[in-house]
């Protein structure tokens, strides 16, 4: 089944309502998830906070904020993402990103910026320790055993004792294991240094590719990395990430667009045309087996998302390529991903 996601980013919006409206629209279209980007470098609200605010106003759609790993505390990050999973009843994701610039480093004043390789190495460790902390509580740790007076069975809680290159964490988490076991981890794997981390940890990889061939190449590499790290490559969903401008919906796509494919720009590959041609492009890439789905970043959020849902999605549903209702309730279920086993289960602490 085809997977679809959309970005909710809206410059200079700090109030909840415009985000709620877009998320509901995306949910109306049955999309797997929405993303909200984040960086300390530019103005805008904290993405995870915005998506927690949205959680109770939506019922099914996955919620995937970007949370960076460079200047943040891994322990706080995993707790916040786990909590997003609790408040959304199993719909949380986490788009893992790094902070590259010296400007971001100056906002914290703790250390300088570093090369991408080092930042992704650290992100890899953060992803690793987060998974351990999510597993640091077994699912059935809470027992409420009146006879012995115990609220939990502490044999089902585990120290993680993680030592990385830049931090260490003792654990366990303060938050019980979230509903999905592990919230869904999303990594933009367009840039080389991010790819090994994506292969190892991502449930969903985003690839900004202007052609089907380019997307295929990255996907093959990601699947290879996944296999090398002992994962089943079929447990990794690869989505092509496109900036979409559906403003010319009434007209045929520009030459070189629509059926011809997106055009590379500074913000990534841009598709400009109508919703129907976008459905053509999605159909053809998907049927060639290039990708498992698409992550669409509207240039005019309100207008483009509306056209996406009522035009592109409706057509894909009509063709039987995309769901018309959510058969499951968690983001993992939408993506067809299993709930991960607990790496500590059965061990004594």
């Amino acid at each position: 089944m085809l997977h679809l996601a959309a970005a909710l980013d809206q410059p200079s919006v700090h109030d909840a309502d415009p985000y709620v409206a877009l998320a509901r629209l995306a949910e109306h279209g049955g999309l797997d998830f929405v993303t909200l980007d984040d960086t300390f470098a530019r103005p805008g609200p904290d993405a995870l906070s915005v998506l927690s605010r949205i959680a109770p106003t939506t019922g099914r759609i996955g919620l995937v904020p970007t949370v960076t790993t460079t200047h943040t505390e891994p322990f706080h990050v995993q707790a916040a993402v786990a909590t997003l999973d609790w408040v959304s009843r199993g719909r949380a994701g986490w788009r893992i990103e790094v902070s590259r610039t010296e400007g971001e480093a100056r906002l914290f004043g703790r250390r300088h910026s570093a090369p991408a390789d080092a930042l992704w190495q650290e992100a890899d460790e953060v992803a690793d320790v987060a998974a351990r902390l999510w597993d640091s509580w077994e699912d059935d740790a809470e027992i409420r055993d009146e006879a012995t007076g115990r609220f939990i069975d502490r044999d089902k809680l585990h120290h993680v004792d993680f030592t990385g290159s830049a931090f260490s964490v003792r654990g366990p988490s303060i938050v019980p294991r979230p509903p999905q076991g592990h919230p869904v981890r999303v990594i933009d794997a367009t840039d080389g240094p991010a790819r090994r981390t994506a292969g190892r940890h991502a449930d969903v990889a985003l690839v900004r590719a202007a052609s089907s061939a380019q997307a295929t190449a990255v996907r093959d590499q990601l699947r290879r990395y996944a296999a090398e790290s002992g994962r089943d490559p079929d447990e990794l969903r690869v989505l092509a990430s496109l900036v979409v401008d559906l403003g010319d919906g009434e007209y045929a796509a520009e030459p070189g667009h629509g059926g011809g494919g997106p055009r590379p720009t500074a913000w990534g590959p841009l598709y400009r045309g109508g919703p129907v041609d976008l459905a053509e492009l999605i159909t053809s890439w998907y049927q060639e087996g290039t990708v498992d789905g698409f992550h669409l970043v509207p240039t005019e959020p309100r207008r483009d998302l509306e056209r996406l849902v009522n035009g592109t999605v409706a057509l894909l549903q009509h063709r039987g390529l995309f769901r018309t209702f959510y058969p499951g309730s968690t983001l993992r279920e939408h993506l067809g991903l299993a709930r991960p086993a607990n790496q500590y289960a059965g061990e004594t602490s």
Partner: protein, 435 residues
């Protein structure tokens, strides 16, 4: 003029007052529990809803403490979600100043204030041990003076950031260089709907009180008997003048429990049952071990107290506030036990008693009013022992009586937490120096 009181709701959780074994006790982690309690608080026109925080699970004898509620969601994330299911209720998060960084936390708090339309509050705590630090990059330990100096600079820095945009919404560069932080750049958000999130303080040392007087809008305290409350309140409010502030600028709110009955006797009986539920035989022994600092698992909770002396520096329990001079406490408890002929469990119950308002709704309303009238408190943070229904009775039975007495609001006048608390919007700091 009658003084109005302020009311807040504490989500019961990781503490030994929460009775998880009661059949009415529901999930401590699922959102529905938080939603129920927050909606109840808003139905009762409360000022705010309060979440505590702990960043390391408590341990006893080297293992995770297992007798009380363990585990909770991360505060700010839950409160952001609660902003969607409430309209007026203030949303207060406890967040540690020792294990966070000003830019990031100021941004998260400002985001919450924007998303909730001006209802965010921050309870600034500092943590006290390297034990918690083992979960963090910055690790380690700061002694008390340094913790409060960092916390004070942290809040001051956050305020610089919150005020760094011009009134017409243009970001201006900030630069802060101090003892603890050396940061510069542009803040991500304009000034939030109530100017700054409300700042709460909960700590009782001299440094803590000074910090409250200089910086906080609300103090959350455990001093909850009338006499202690009056003394504490007078002490903290006396310190305000030093910072050019007046008593109206700082609200003192003790945490209290409430037990209601149709008669005074019934309420007392219920309170006794609850105290027993809060102190299981296992909890009684463990409480003793926390003071004695040695393994007492062979003692009978229904038998007498040990006659051995406690070790001076108990280290059996980690992640809990120190209890002070343990030898003196042990002496006091033994005296209490001898005098009244109490077992271990009965002694723990008797000695560990927290101030609660116990009685008929009318008596409780009258007593609460008395506290406020006598300057023992500006209001209360109610700590129910049940999740999530523990405030239902209070809101249904006591709030209307407080309203009849004219000491509690009958509607929300404003939309922001500052307006509920009667606090003015903080003046904008002069635009800070560019780097």
């Amino acid at each position: 003029m009658t003084r109005r009181m302020h009311l807040a709701a504490h989500f019961p959780g990781v503490n030994n007052t929460t009775v998880w074994a009661d059949p009415r006790s529901r999930s401590q982690i699922e959102f529905s529990s938080f939603e129920h309690l927050a909606r109840t608080a808003e139905r009762g026109l409360f000022d705010f809803f309060f979440l505590a925080e702990g960043l390391r699970l408590r341990e006893h004898k080297g293992r995770v403490h297992d007798l009380d509620v363990v585990g909770r969601p991360e505060s700010l994330t839950v409160l952001n979600a609660l902003a969607a299911v409430t309209d007026r209720l203030g949303l207060a998060a406890t967040v540690n100043a020792t294990f966070n960084e000003p830019y990031e936390l100021a941004r998260r708090l400002a985001t919450s204030d924007h998303l909730s339309g001006g209802r965010a509050a921050w309870n600034v705590v500092t943590s006290s041990d390297a034990f918690t630090g083992e979960n963090f990059r910055r690790g380690g330990y700061l002694d008390r003076a340094d913790r409060y100096s960092r916390a004070a600079e942290f809040v001051a820095t956050a305020r610089e950031l919150w005020d760094s945009w011009t009134p017409d919404g243009v970001p201006r560069p900030f630069a802060h260089r101090g003892r603890h932080f050396d940061i510069a750049g542009e803040f991500g958000l304009p000034r939030s709907p109530q100017g700054h999130p409300v700042v709460i303080q909960a700590g009782d040392s001299d440094e803590g009180r000074e910090f409250a007087a200089s910086t906080a809008d609300v103090v959350f305290t455990r001093h909850s008997s009338l006499e202690e409350g009056r003394a504490f309140s007078a002490d903290v409010k006396r310190r305000l003048a030093r910072y050019g502030r007046t008593p109206a600028d700082l609200k003192i709110m003790p945490g209290v429990g409430v037990v209601l009955g149709d008669t005074a006797a019934e309420a007392r009986e219920k309170a006794a049952v609850i105290r027993r539920q809060q102190t299981s035989p296992q909890t009684a022994i463990l409480t003793l071990e926390q003071i004695w600092g040695v393994d007492l698992s062979s003692y009978d909770p229904d038998g007498p107290l040990p006659d051995i002396d406690p070790v001076a520096e108990p280290s059996l329990t980690r992640g809990r506030t120190r209890r002070g001079d343990t030898v003196a406490i042990a002496e006091k408890w033994r005296a209490l036990s001898r005098e009244k002929g109490l077992s271990i469990r009965q002694t723990v119950i008797e000695a560990g008693g927290r101030q609660s308002f116990v009685g008929t709704p009318a008596a409780v309303a009258a007593e609460m009013e008395e506290f406020v009238r006598q300057d023992a408190a500006d209001g209360f943070i109610l700590v129910p022992h049940l999740t999530p229904g523990g405030l239902d009775e209070f809101v249904d039975q006591v709030v209307p009586l407080l309203q009849e007495r004219g000491v509690f609001r009958t509607e929300y006048r404003g939309t922001t937490l500052r307006s509920h608390l009667g606090l003015s919007e903080p003046p904008r700091l002069p635009l800070s120096s560019a780097p």
